[in-house]
């Protein structure tokens, strides 16, 4: 029954999308400046019906209706309720439904929040967005239908992967989708603006909120994904430059660049076509990311199950999108004279875009290069963290300095950047850096540079906070948070301590300034797994701290998997991170211990970064 309801609603939505396209197209020709009531009504209907469709799928998971293949493959009656619900979007088919929901809701909301803007611009946005919706609806119905059923229905499901049963991972997809799927709306709006020649500052005002929404959520989505990786994957890192991680970062770079260039478009009415390119690029990168992740051409920790037929469909969709938008861009392009004053804010916005493009190209190249060398010369290579770190980090050092100076430049001509203050800030930064590294004895040159430049940004932003007139609080928060983020990452990386050793039960080992004692192992039975929990006492001989950490080795029933759960002990100064694994044919257990300073501040910084985006959104919405 649920299967039929779901299928019906999907088909209904295809019909409604087509109707919207039809009526909107007709509406274009009317002479008044009003959008017909029909278009509004059908949009409301469309949003309602897709939400009902989604809740139908959620219900199927909740009641464990195994007659639906998706529920059968990804759920189990013993799953806790929370994870039954989040299991809805934790699989390929269900997540595509989430795609369509975001596409549809954004389509509707954009329509009703843009009343002050020209009718045809809004109509074309609606039309193009609905073509995107149709594309995904057809993909779902023809290839990846969460409502397809099996008869007779099996009595039990195959179970959700235990690694995916985590609160952070449950909210990770919805957050990310509001981010990069939400970028679809300004993709459509960009094409609409080119077609209707709606190209001045008002266009920037029209899409600014949407760019802010998608950017803020994308930031949060990436944050939650990293937190999950840190807690669940057991290696103590939070970013691995894995292709799937990169797929979420690439749109983020484009969005950040777009955010900044919109400032220029809004205030100075230039950089229109560059902003358009960024609008198109963001969503193209999002769809490309989806393609890479679901088609099976990448080898990654995070990949969904692989299926080349999905790949072909998404690739065709991606190609049509790219070729259509490039065609319109080329036919509508008018060489405009870009007037940039040196030492003005426009220059610094361009500098931001310049660096964002560098980061984007680096990550894009690193992610795609193995695919290319394999296809062309049949030689498989790997591109991992050492590549990205060595290429990007030196550039970040310079970038941070620009981030500090840029916002204080004036829009038109800047007489002279207040050199004295910046000199003082630089000296202060160098001084603080010296103190940090003097007390903790670390001489890596690049760490020093990172700390100095991030301190520079931090101190400048703090000084900005105390300026009374004409300052932008959200911007200061975001720039300050970014400075802190880089600072904390630098300090954390530089002062982390790692010990890798083997212990038997009852044994004590001392390594440098730490003493480890494996007290005992306990066998525990939980709802859907058995666990071996170790009690490991850690003595930090320098700080005189003593903690007992409890790493676990878990054996899940459905499906049969073995996982290693890290024991993490957090406070505001440092994290203790410990994993234990058994060694085949031996009494010894392999212990990996890490002391990671300031870990929690890394999360806090990213959350604050996103907060700046939300504050800016509220500010902009209030003023308009």
């Amino acid at each position: 029954m649920l299967s039929n309801t779901g299928n019906f609603l999907l088909s209904l939505n295809i019909f409604l999308s087509a109707l919207i396209i039809y009526y909107s197209y007709n509406n274009l020709k009317t002479s008044d400046n009003l959008i017909s009531k029909k278009v509004f009504k059908i949009s409301i209907l469309q949003s309602t019906s897709i939400l009902i469709c989604f809740f139908t799928l959620v219900s199927a998971f909740l009641v464990s209706d195994f007659s639906l293949i998706t529920v059968y493959q990804n759920s189990h009656s013993l799953k806790p309720i929370f994870y039954k619900i989040s299991g809805t979007w934790g699989n390929h088919e269900g997540s595509l439904l989430l795609w369509v929901i975001i596409l549809t809701l954004f389509s509707f909301l954009f329509l009703i929040y843009n009343r002050k803007h020209p009718k045809n611009y809004r109509l074309y946005t609606l039309i193009i967005q609905n073509f995107l919706i149709l594309g995904f609806l057809f993909f779902i119905l023809l290839n990846s239908n969460p409502f397809s059923f099996i008869s007779p229905p099996p009595s039990e499901g195959l179970g959700l992967n235990p690694i995916l049963q985590d609160p952070a991972l449950a909210i990770h997809p919805p957050l990310l989708y509001v981010g990069f799927v939400g970028s679809s709306i300004y993709f459509s709006a960009a094409i609409a603006s080119m077609i209707t020649n709606y190209s001045d500052k008002s266009f920037a005002k029209s899409i600014k909120s949407w760019v802010l929404i998608s950017w803020s959520f994308q930031t949060l989505g990436i944050l939650v994904g990293s937190i999950w990786a840190y807690y669940e994957l057991g290696w103590g890192g939070f970013w691995f430059w894995d292709p799937v991680e990169n797929a979420s970062l690439l749109p983020w770079f484009a969005m950040t660049a777009l955010l900044h260039s919109l400032l220029v478009l809004e205030k100075r009415n230039t950089l229109y076509f560059w902003s358009i390119i960024l609008c198109l690029l963001t969503f193209v990168l999002s769809v490309m990311g989806t393609f890479l992740v679901r088609s099976g051409i990448l080898n990654s920790v995070h990949t969904f199950a692989n299926d080349p037929t999905r790949g072909i469909y998404i690739l065709v969709f991606l190609s049509l999108m790219i070729l259509a938008s490039v065609y319109i861009l080329f036919s509508k392009y008018k060489p405009a004279s870009i007037e940039i004053n040196s030492n003005s804010k426009e220059t610094f916005v361009l500098v931001n875009n310049w660096f964002m493009m560098f980061y984007l190209i680096t990550v894009l190249l690193g992610t795609l290069y193995p695919i290319f060398t394999d296809a062309i010369s049949n030689n498989k290579i790997s591109v991992g963290p050492p590549f990205y770190n060595s290429v990007i980090i030196p550039v970040v050092v310079i970038f941070l300095f620009f981030m500090a100076i840029g916002p204080n430049a004036k829009w038109i001509k800047n007489k002279f950047i207040d050199l004295k203050i910046y000199l003082l800030i630089t000296l202060a930064a160098i001084f603080f850096n010296f103190i940090i590294f003097f007390f903790f004895k670390s001489y890596s040159i690049i760490s020093n540079l990172i700390v100095i430049s991030s301190l520079f940004l931090i101190l400048s932003s703090i000084i900005d906070l105390f300026k009374k007139k004409n300052f932008n609080f959200p911007r200061v928060i975001s720039h300050l948070s970014f400075g802190f983020l880089i600072l904390f990452i630098g300090l954390n990386h530089n002062f982390s301590i790692e010990k890798d050793f083997n212990l038997k039960i009852g044994e004590t080992k001392q390594i440098d300034n730490f003493k480890f004692h494996l007290k005992d192992l306990k066998l525990v039975q939980d709802t859907n797994y058995k666990a071996v929990i170790g009690s490991l006492k850690v003595n930090d001989l320098l700080t005189k701290e003593e903690r007992v950490l409890k790493p676990e080795i878990r054996i899940y029933d459905n499906p049969q998997t073995l996982t290693y759960e890290a024991s993490i002990q957090t406070n505001f100064i440092r994290d203790y991170y410990l994993t234990m694994s058994n060694i085949d044919r031996s009494d010894y257990y392999n212990i990996k211990f890490q002391k990671k300073p300031l870990m929690i501040w890394i999360w806090i910084s990213v959350a604050m970064l996103s907060l700046g985006g939300f504050l800016s959104l509220f500010r902009h919405a209030k003023n308009n």
Binding site: G296, I297, L298, L318, A375
Partner: protein
């Protein structure tokens, strides 16, 4: 100028999309089967049954040697064993068996039970020697000539096709 930029952009995009399409049917899993042509150097293996060592000198007079990494605790090794027995009857090839991370008693019991195809029996108790041969799992086999060139790598248990191909190579 504008026309060339447009042309370059479109060509680049078509190229990228083309590569994506071509990559759809390729496997993203990695194996070392293609790593032929290199030479094996510095062979220094402990014998399983005596205190002696095997070195390059022991094998340089064989036209062809098949190096087979195996263990008594490895199930696929049992599956491939009949093929090794078959191959051991062939006079053009000698077989070196390297017992991997195993106990001598279990290894000898295994050979007693299923037969001993090996002209040479060596051991690699901690697995370190296997890295010298580019091994990353067992069973794995390497076919070399008298100049120690790697002619063929077989990842996983030997099957009928592999034996056929080996026989082809050693006939010439």
């Amino acid at each position: 100028m504008q026309k060339t930029i447009k042309l370059i952009t479109v060509s680049l995009l078509v190229f990228i999309l083309g590569i994506f399409y071509l990559s759809l049917n390729r496997s993203s899993n990695y194996d070392t089967k293609f790593l032929v042509g290199n030479k094996l150097t510095d062979i220094e293996l402990k014998s399983l049954q005596s205190k002696e060592f095997f070195t390059n000198d022991d094998f340089k007079n064989n036209k062809y040697t098949l190096i087979n990494f195996w263990a008594s605790w490895c199930a696929p090794c049992r599956v491939e064993h009949p093929y090794l027995m078959m191959l051991s009857k062939n006079k053009d090839i000698k077989i070196l068996g390297i017992n991997f991370k195993d106990k001598k008693i279990n290894a000898l019991k295994f050979l007693e039970e299923l037969g001993n195809p090996y002209d040479y029996l060596a051991k690699d108790n901690n697995g370190k020697q296997s890295v010298n041969f580019g091994i990353y799992g067992i069973p794995e086999s390497i076919l070399i000539d008298n100049k120690f060139n790697i002619l063929k790598k077989i990842i996983g248990p030997l099957n009928e096709k592999d034996i056929k191909e080996i026989k082809e190579i050693i006939k010439s």
